[in-house]
Symmetry: C2
């Protein structure tokens, strides 16, 4: 059992070390050799857990995916309207990017592959589907104008968030990301909510998921 616990810890150490390098140097730029140096482990220990750089990258993307799913489920358990849950979703994505090196590495690998035509669509589609589902409920709850098309709206929200975080990273190393996501909702909510719901905008903008933050 002690041996198994040690193996789990070693594996986690490798994944974190690889994530730090993928984040800094990208998937193409990072080599197994430098990942080895960064983790301080032997070649044998690394190869026992991962056969290749590709396998490490897939593992990081899978962990990032698991984190996403967990936060979507946590936000679903919040006692909040669907539009508040959409705002929570964006702020939770921002919080994870700022605080979790595995999420940052996953995003860097995904973005790096996205500039190619064969880029991975799944991470985007997951968030778009979640947002679409919430947007449909927000229309039913009267918080979104009835002519808002949930699939198009969801695709715009995830696209806008993706670029807002790119620009925040380039200009401020993401130190202003939370404020920029708040700006996004400040510009967006008055146009997508029926006028009689506008008094709720202040409350909706400050919606954050405490359940997801505890994960």
């Amino acid at each position: 059992m002690a041996q198994q616990a040690r193996a789990v810890a070693t594996r986690a150490q490798i994944v974190l070390g690889a994530a730090e390098l993928f984040e800094k140097q990208g998937f193409v730029g990072a080599s197994l050799g430098t990942i080895l140096e960064n983790t301080g482990l032997t070649k044998g220990a690394l190869y026992f857990h991962f056969k290749s750089k590709e396998e490490l990258a897939r593992c990081i993307i899978a962990e990032q995916h698991a984190t996403s799913i967990a936060s979507v489920e946590a936000i679903g358990r919040e006692q909040a309207s669907a539009i508040e849950q959409i705002v929570m979703l964006c702020h939770e994505m921002a919080r994870q990017i700022v605080h979790d090196p595995i999420v940052r590495a996953g995003i860097r690998i995904t973005l790096e592959l996205s500039v190619d035509d064969q880029g991975p669509a799944d991470p985007y589609l997951d968030w778009i589907n979640t947002c679409e589902h919430l947007a449909r409920r927000a229309v039913e709850q009267g918080d979104l104008e009835p002519d808002i098309d949930p699939p198009r709206f969801a695709r715009f929200v995830i696209g806008a968030f993706t670029g807002v975080q790119t620009v925040s990273q380039v200009l401020t190393q993401r130190t202003d990301l939370e404020h920029r996501v708040d700006d996004m909702w400040g510009f967006l909510l008055p146009g997508i909510m029926p006028a009689h719901r506008h008094p709720d905008i202040g409350r909706i903008r400050t919606a954050r998921s405490e359940v997801a933050q505890r994960n």
Copy 2:
């Protein structure tokens, strides 16, 4: 003179060949060797014009920048309100991405470097500054709500556009980009324009720069 014209043509051929490879394989992935193969030129001809892959990348970013400046100036010559010029700006960026391989290569190189903390901020800042200047005029012209903060608004517009095009590329190889940019303005304009200007929204959404398209 014939020799000089040939040199200019050769240089353009190298830049286009390099752009095609940078777009497909990225800056890190593309090598001078494969660029050479793609242009069908001799090593001597390539090195006569460019000393390194970095120099080629700088040249592509400079050409992309020149294209941007030209379209900003063209849009400035349009007989259109400032808010229409902002919409034109986004659609012109989208049109260039779809039609100009040098712009696509420049964006790929820029995005590839942007995932790093030392990513180049200038391409974003140029567009943000142009958009901020137009947003200030749009507030004066009464097309934007007086409480809209031009610097924040400009940063959001360029961020949102950046991500909308990333998601469009991943999901549809940018075939739906014009529609997604139109969606963006459809969601955004009702919230940022004073209610009595809302009848103009249809016209503003269809604003395109014919001057820039002729460049």
